[in-house]
């Protein structure tokens, strides 16, 4: 357990130092700022479509840190050193998912507050978006670590990672955007279920990816 926490703390510190936490948040806010410029200052239209835009922005923001989740640790030998110490790859992957979510989910939920103001979302829509992000971002984080570990050995893994990750994130965006219309309804439960499924599956896929990197 101590080792698990040590990996989480280290990953958080590294991503914080490399600007990995600020980057997705700034990107997310930038999309929320640009969207009204693109569709015009029609408050009703913004309020109706803004929730969905926030979900698309969150999904795209999740792609930004992909190439620094696994590849740097593989290249610098850190993953080997974990292996020499007998730490299971699944445990490493799960710790990385937790660290990635901590540096990604809560900051995005905070950034959703000003973003909602920019898009003129009302209180109940904002509440639905926040609840949806709380349920959905763990799944996005799990997907991110999974895809990052499967593409870490590949050149230009960033672009490939995006191509792999976006289709897999379709359930999250369908249920996430769907949950905005019916607050507390079935969609947010499906969202939480998809997210949970990804969090349960990803450590095994990512662990296999980390093992394959050693070959």
């Amino acid at each position: 357990m101590n080792r698990f926490i040590a990996i989480v703390m280290r990953d958080l510190r590294v991503s914080f130092g490399a600007g990995g936490i600020a980057l997705p948040v700034v990107f997310f806010l930038l999309v929320a700022t640009l969207y009204p410029f693109a569709v015009g200052p029609d408050g009703a239209l913004l309020a109706r479509t803004g929730g969905g835009v926030l979900w698309v922005a969150a999904l795209l923001a999740a792609l930004l840190p992909l190439d620094r989740l696994i590849a740097p640790d593989a290249e610098s030998g850190v993953l080997d050193q974990y292996g020499v110490r007998g730490m299971g790859e699944e445990m490493i992957a799960f710790a990385k998912i937790v660290a990635h979510w901590l540096g990604f989910g809560p900051p995005l939920m905070l950034a959703a507050l000003p973003a909602a103001a920019l898009l003129r979302l009302d209180g109940s829509t904002l509440a639905a978006v926040e609840l949806g992000l709380l349920a959905g971002t763990p799944g996005l984080a799990a997907l991110g670590v999974m895809v990052a570990s499967l593409t870490a050995g590949v050149r230009r893994s960033g672009a490939l990672g995006g191509l792999l990750m976006l289709p897999l994130a379709v359930p999250l965006i369908i249920f996430g955007a769907g949950s905005i219309g019916d607050f507390g309804g079935g969609a947010v439960r499906f969202l939480a279920a998809s997210s949970l499924f990804l969090v349960a599956l990803a450590p095994f896929a990512a662990g296999a990816g980390i093992r394959a990197l050693r070959e």
Partner: protein, 208 residues
């Protein structure tokens, strides 16, 4: 400045460490690198791996470290491992002492172990320097300090002398001798002669 004056911290493993390989073979990329590699080492022993480039010295070390699966044969050991290969595995942004401290924390070692490791490789004056500023030889010594601080009884060293000057090579010899005197084990792949007394030799040959 050498590690000799420092009291050697006790090694972590309770029982005496040992490592034995029986009939190891290694298959990489569809090619059999070596086969039939056997040896047995117990506390205080050292093994020097030699052989031409590409024969699989690094692969054998990774296999012993559990990072690669053996194609056949098996490895039995008791005692923790520390691996020093070409990768430093230290956070480039952190000051050297803190970067080493991260691994020491993971290994259950103390701040004194890090201080002793820095002193053993003449890195004390660089403790506050960010890892990315270190020179090639200093990086190599930092890698060796990482395994020194781990207090693991079994050291796996892959070309530890690369990039080291004469004075640093003497530090390495001292560190290995002190480690063995304290009941540790050293397995080293090296193409340059190192000052290892009473070491076993294993010349790897390519599998036909």
């Amino acid at each position: 400045m050498t590690g000799k004056g420092q009291p050697q911290q006790g090694l972590k493993s309770g029982s005496p460490p040992n490592i034995a390989a029986a009939g190891l073979a290694c298959l990489r990329g569809g090619r059999l690198l070596f086969k039939g590699v056997s040896f047995a080492l117990s506390a205080g022993d050292a093994l020097i791996l030699t052989g031409p480039n590409g024969v699989g010295k690094s692969s054998l070390l990774r296999l012993l470290a559990g990072l690669l699966p053996a194609f056949s044969g098996k490895v039995e050991r008791s005692g923790n491992l520390a691996l020093a290969d070409e990768h430093m595995a230290l956070d480039p942004r952190l000051p050297l002492a803190r970067a080493l401290g991260d691994w020491a924390h993971l290994d259950g070692s103390t701040a004194q172990d890090v201080t002793a490791a820095l002193a053993a490789f003449d890195l004390t004056h660089l403790a506050d320097v960010p890892v990315r500023m270190l020179s090639t030889g200093q990086r190599r010594r930092a890698t060796l300090a990482r395994i020194h601080a781990s207090r693991a009884p079994i050291w796996l060293l892959d070309e530890p002398g690369n990039g080291l000057d004469t004075a640093s090579l003497a530090l390495l010899d001292d560190a290995m001798a002190t480690h063995r005197a304290a009941g540790g084990l050293v397995i080293v792949a090296s193409h340059q002669p190192l000052g290892l007394a009473n070491a076993q030799h294993l010349a790897l040959v390519a599998a036909a």
